[in-house]
């Protein structure tokens, strides 16, 4: 196995995983060490205290037990007797005389000066106490206990006797016990280390797995796979992040889709426009060529030539008009798409507008306008010119594709006015119904050459929508196509304009 490269090692220790592991291990080991240290400290202290307490009480009881049989004032034998009762490593001092054994065999020399002074300074009385001190003698810890022996009167009064007793105890066994405690604690702490590493690895995995999944998803999104998602698990911050990324991906997908749809629409529109422009231009070209031929043979005009020329000129005029109409419609559609269409809001009586529209276009003979009697309120707030365009398109369409007579019914409700245009033709094929308002859609495929631009119904629909209205196509049960336009009384977007108008004197 190849040793890990320095860069990889650096990434492992400074990355999210490395930091997590270092933190968890540090916290665990610090905690374990702290707890172990506190426990050892407490145990060691009480071990030493108990030992010390036991030793001092033992000295007191030994001296007290032996004292009544000791000669006072003491001679050398009496000091030896008392020292013998105290046990090993003991010393009894009275004035200049001393009796020592063990570490104190040489007398008072090894008694810690501080302890000796404190024992002698005790004004015995009520306050005579046993004193102790832990010292080091020849590199070994010792507990040295010293006390004055006091004389108690029958009435309880205590006076110093001048005798001092000392005893020393080797603390090596206690130290060994404390060392064992420390070793045990250290072992326990060391045992937590692999456990902590394991714990940290598990924790880092549980944290980093969702992160890896998120990264994977982000890579998919970056490659353009917009339907990539992550299943959020849990309720933590990572789950929130996951949900946010999902939402982001969804909104990204949505906007890209709508951009694509728009692009597709405009591409098709451009193609349709080219196609629609080519057809009249082809006809125009042919007509103009005929005219050219006729004019080049002008020296010997014949009857047939003249008639041909007249027909071609007529055709050229018709097609030119149609081209102008087509271009105007395309410009109108372009204004709708750009959102720059401006409306001029006015109170409009629909029946009046429809009548004027039919009259101006000379359709009076073929169109019947009906409105239920007693319904005077057919007034809406609308742009009269656009309503005129919509009605002209609907009626013109009915006359061109359906057939006379055409009925226009105007009915009013509280919220709006409905205009229904019904023709007497064969109706619209069912499969064509959903598409009649599409741009350049031609229901009658056999008749590719029509008088209209193919944009009339699309423009009507856009105008209805500008009025917050609706337009729909259906077949009448009695035959014939029925187009229904509904306009609200007061479109939302017209309200402020109208108010301005009303306030104007």
């Amino acid at each position: 196995m190849r040793p890990p490269s320095p860069r990889r090692l650096l990434r492992t220790t400074t990355g999210l995983r490395g930091r997590l592991i270092i933190t968890v291990v540090s916290v665990t080991v610090l905690g374990a060490t702290g707890a172990a240290w506190a426990g050892v400290q407490r145990s060691a202290t009480s071990l030493i205290e108990i030992n010390q307490e036991h030793r001092t009480e033992d000295l007191v009881s030994r001296v007290t037990r032996a004292a009544p049989s000791v000669l006072y004032p003491p001679d050398a034998d009496a000091l030896d007797q008392l020292r013998g009762e105290i046990g090993e490593n003991s010393l009894v001092v009275h004035q200049d005389a001393a009796s020592g054994e063990g570490v104190f065999a040489t007398g008072t020399a090894l008694v810690p000066a501080q302890l000796r002074e404190a024992v002698r300074a005790q004004t015995a009385g009520e306050h005579g106490h046993v004193l102790s001190q832990r010292v080091e003698i020849d590199g070994t810890p010792w507990l040295v206990i010293g006390a004055p022996v006091v004389v108690t009167e029958p009435d309880g009064a205590r006076t110093p006797s001048g005798i001092e007793v000392y005893s020393a105890h080797d603390l090596t066994p206690v130290r060994d016990q404390v060392d064992a405690l420390v070793r045990g604690a250290a072992t326990t702490t060391a045992a937590t280390l692999p456990l902590a590493v394991l714990l940290a690895l598990l924790a880092s995995r549980s944290v980093l797995r969702p992160v890896a999944r998120l990264r994977e998803t982000a890579q998919h999104l970056a490659r353009g796979e917009l339907d990539a998602r992550v299943e959020p698990t849990g309720v933590d911050e990572l789950a929130q992040l996951t949900r946010t990324i999902n939402e982001m991906a969804a909104s990204l997908q949505e906007s890209i889709n709508s951009i694509a749809a728009l692009e597709e629409g405009s591409r098709r529109f451009a193609a349709d426009v080219s196609h629609e422009l080519r057809t009249p231009l082809t006809t125009l070209t042919a007509a103009v060529e005929v005219l050219h031929d006729v004019l080049s043979r002008a020296e010997a005009p014949g009857v047939s030539d003249e008639a041909e020329a007249r027909e071609s000129a007529h055709l050229a005029v018709v097609e030119t008009r149609r081209l102008v109409e087509l271009v105007e419609d395309i410009m109108e559609i372009a204004r709708f798409d750009a959102g720059t269409a401006r409306l001029r809001w006015e109170r409009t009586d629909l029946v009046k507008v429809i009548s004027a529209c039919v009259r101006h276009r000379g359709w009076t003979r073929d169109v019947v306008i009906s409105s239920p009697a007693g319904e005077d309120d057919r007034e809406v707030v609308a742009d009269r010119r656009r309503v005129d365009v919509v009605v002209a398109n609907l009626v013109g369409n009915a006359l061109a594709h359906g057939g006379a007579p055409v009925r226009v019914d105007v009915t009013a409700t509280g919220e709006g006015v409905t205009v229904r245009v019904t023709d007497s033709g064969p109706g619209i094929p069912e499969d064509a119904l959903p598409h009649v308002f599409s741009r350049f859609y031609k229901a009658d495929t056999s008749r590719s050459r029509t008088t209209g631009s193919g944009l009339g119904l699309a423009i009507a629909r856009e105008n209805a929508l500008l009025h917050d209205g609706a337009i729909s196509a259906a077949n009448h049960p009695d035959g014939g196509a029925a187009f229904t336009l509904w306009l609200p009384r007061r479109p939302t977007r017209a309200t402020c304009h109208l108010r301005d108008e009303e306030q104007d004197p």
């Binding site: 540090s26 610090l30 060490t33 702290g34 240290w37 050892v40 400290q41 060691a44 030493i48 010390q52 307490e53 001092t56 009480e57 000295l59 007191v60 009881s61 001296v63 007290t64 037990r65 032996a66 004292a67 009544p68 049989s69 000791v70 000669l71 006072y72 004032p73 501080q114 404190a118 005790q122 015995a124 106490h129 046993v130 004193l131 102790s132 001190q133 832990r134 010292v135 080091e136 810890p141 206990i145 006390a147 004055p148 022996v149 006091v150 004389v151 108690t152 009167e153 029958p154 009435d155 309880g156 205590r158 005798i163 007793v165 603390l171 206690v174 130290r175 404390v178 060392d179 420390v182």
Partner: protein, 159 residues
């Protein structure tokens, strides 16, 4: 910079570990009361001419036990001019048992051989000896005569 707190903690831990092993050297520490029980002689209680309790210091060279003090008391005041409320007896052997703050003294005389003052003499002598050898000063003494026991009591001379 980021790992500075950890470094501090580790350093502190190392310092603690270094300074915490084994029994520490110390200054002088104060423990229980100093031992006692040393004395030049025994205190006995006799009666003066007016029948009042009087302490007599008997120079024995050492304090001795309670039992020894009671034995000395039973042997009488000798030629000191003091009186005793206990009939003379040749047998001075007695038995002392201590149970906490209660001390029983079994004497080789009957209650008839001891006057009321004599009972106080025994009680005070035993009590004084007990206190001098480090016993509690609330000790009560019960005398057991050969015929009957006496209720526990304290020494009237020593409160």
């Amino acid at each position: 910079m980021r790992h500075r707190p950890f470094a501090t903690a580790w350093a502190g831990l190392a310092l603690i570990a270094l300074t915490s092993c084994g029994p520490q050297l110390s200054t002088v520490e104060e423990g229980p009361s100093a031992p006692t029980g040393i004395a030049a002689g025994t205190t006995l209680y006799f009666l003066d001419d007016d029948g009042r309790l009087t302490a007599q210091h008997r120079e024995t060279g050492r304090l001795g036990t309670v039992s020894e003090a009671v034995s000395l008391l039973l042997t009488g005041p000798g030629g000191s001019g003091l009186r005793t409320g206990i009939e003379p007896t040749t047998v001075t052997r007695n038995q002392v048992t201590v149970n906490g703050e209660l001390m029983s003294v079994r004497v080789p005389v009957s209650s008839a051989e001891v006057s009321a003052e004599g009972i106080d003499q025994i009680v005070c002598t035993a009590f004084a000896s007990r206190v001098q050898s480090g016993g509690p000063d609330r000790t009560r003494v019960a005398i057991e005569f050969t015929d009957r026991p006496e209720a526990p009591r304290s020494c009237p001379a020593l409160g």
